[in-house]
């Protein structure tokens, strides 16, 4: 069993390293189970940590997506205001402070910003701007269209958000509840704790808890990641 714990620790470290993530959640799961000295609990502690790691990563991606979209929206809003006043993309970008030194081309600035934000509407504007700079045409309707696109996508997402947030909080609280209960047993009901720790029925129950906790967090993470993949 000791070998299994170590093999899992190594396996999870490799997994997380491959996905460029921290091993903190797994290490924390292990540490929570450490006082029990029960190897099975350590295994499930690490597995639950893995599920938690998936969930936090998915939530992180969602935040990055929101931040990028907000940056793109602000950028396009400024551009839509300044383009008709200044008449040229370069001059508008100068006013916005993106070409203070005047070294990069206006389309290059747009492409850099679109590459940084990775929002499809902004990428579209940068592609069209490159084309227009060669063949001529007006960028203003394109900017307005992209702005409208981002705003409608964000509005639809924020309408769904309260319901999703309530669901996630419930799942997170209920996920931690069995761990708190086990700690409570250890402190105040040693008979219950011993029945959980040293018996086959107890091990079965802990395995069930570990499996479902890991699975639920993983499913929720996959759901969040799927919804945040679209930009």
């Amino acid at each position: 069993m000791r070998g299994l714990v170590l093999a899992m620790a190594v396996g999870l470290t490799i997994w997380e390293a491959y996905h460029q993530r921290s091993v903190w959640p797994e290490a924390l799961g292990w540490m929570v189970a450490l006082p029990s000295r029960n190897m099975l609990w350590m295994v499930w502690g690490m597995m639950a940590g893995w599920g938690w790691s998936q969930l936090t990563e998915a939530v992180g991606k969602e935040k990055v997506r929101d931040r990028d979209e907000q940056a793109a929206e602000t950028f396009l809003m400024q551009l839509a205001q300044l383009l008709p006043i200044r008449g040229a993309l370069g001059a508008a970008l100068d006013d916005m402070g993106y070409r203070a030194l005047g070294e990069s081309s206006p389309t290059g600035v747009l492409e850099d910003f679109a590459g940084h934000c990775r929002v499809s509407a902004l990428t579209m504007v940068s592609q069209v701007a490159r084309r227009i700079s060669r063949q001529g045409g007006s960028l203003l309707p394109v900017v307005r269209e992209a702005l409208r696109d981002i705003q409608s996508t964000r509005r639809a997402r924020f309408e769904r958000r309260p319901e999703e947030a309530a669901q996630r909080t419930t799942v997170m609280i209920l996920g931690v509840a069995p761990v708190l209960l086990m700690a409570g047993f250890g402190l105040f009901l040693p008979t219950f704790y011993r029945a959980l720790d040293g018996t086959s029925i107890g091990n079965l129950a802990v395995s069930l808890v570990g499996t479902s906790m890991t699975a639920v967090w993983w499913i929720l993470a996959a759901h969040i990641e799927r919804s945040s993949a679209a930009r």
Binding site: Q20, S120, I201
Partner: protein, 214 residues
């Protein structure tokens, strides 16, 4: 001896991590794992593997996340891009060409469609295009490209069509999304059962031992 080696190894890796350009989160979490392994398992092999993994990770380069774009979304994006290029003043073929070039997977099917239109093999070209992109958008876009070849394309018409397609796609997605909260309610229910297992297991154990005594 093993303990001393483990300690030396941990200290060595720590020096590598710090000297290698700052302590990263990943490296820190490895340190926790390594110290825990050393304290509680006293296994040099495990520590060595963990250490090697941590060092390898430091040299790993970042990989871009694969994009997940559906064929229908791709086509709608293409049509919107065509409308945008048209409104920017490009001719229909220039707009279609530029929009198709923006996505490599569109170049082949759009090229074949354009070729079939030029050879006046309208039905065959449309059918092939619809096979390449299953969904209601492909026949509409194919027909509009054919129409554009004969009579030209207006930016407003294409924009209106792209809007209609987007709305249709969004309503399709909304139907799927409306099902999401229903299956998501299973998750708290499953977790609530965990609390029940934690209470039931000691009771079952105690009942079993009492039963045997009887």
């Amino acid at each position: 001896m093993t303990e001393a080696l483990s300690l030396a190894w941990t200290a060595g890796v720590l020096v590598v991590i710090v000297a290698g350009g700052g302590v990263e989160d990943l490296a820190l979490s490895w340190v926790v794992l390594a110290v825990m392994a050393w304290l509680h398992h006293d296994t040099l092999v495990g520590l060595a593997i963990l250490g090697l993994v941590a060092i390898l990770v430091r040299w790993q380069e970042s990989r871009p996340a694969p994009s997940q774009v559906d064929g229908r979304d791709l086509l709608i994006k293409f049509w919107r891009l065509v409308s945008v290029y048209l409104s920017a003043g490009l001719s229909p073929w220039q707009a279609i060409d530029a929009a198709a070039l923006s996505e490599s997977s569109l170049v082949g099917p759009i090229g074949e469609l354009a070729e079939s239109i030029q050879q006046r093999a309208y039905d065959g070209g449309l059918r092939q295009f619809a096979v390449a992109f299953p969904g209601p958008e492909a026949p509409m876009i194919g027909a509009m490209i054919q129409h554009g070849y004969k009579h030209g394309l207006r930016a407003e018409d294409v924009m209106w069509q792209a809007d209609a397609m987007t709305q249709r796609r969004q309503s399709d997605e909304a139907v799927v999304r409306r099902r999401d909260p229903i299956w998501l309610t299973w998750l708290p229910a499953i977790l609530l059962l965990n609390v029940v297992w934690i209470f039931m297991a000691p009771m079952a154990t105690m009942l079993k031992s009492t039963w045997l005594k009887l």
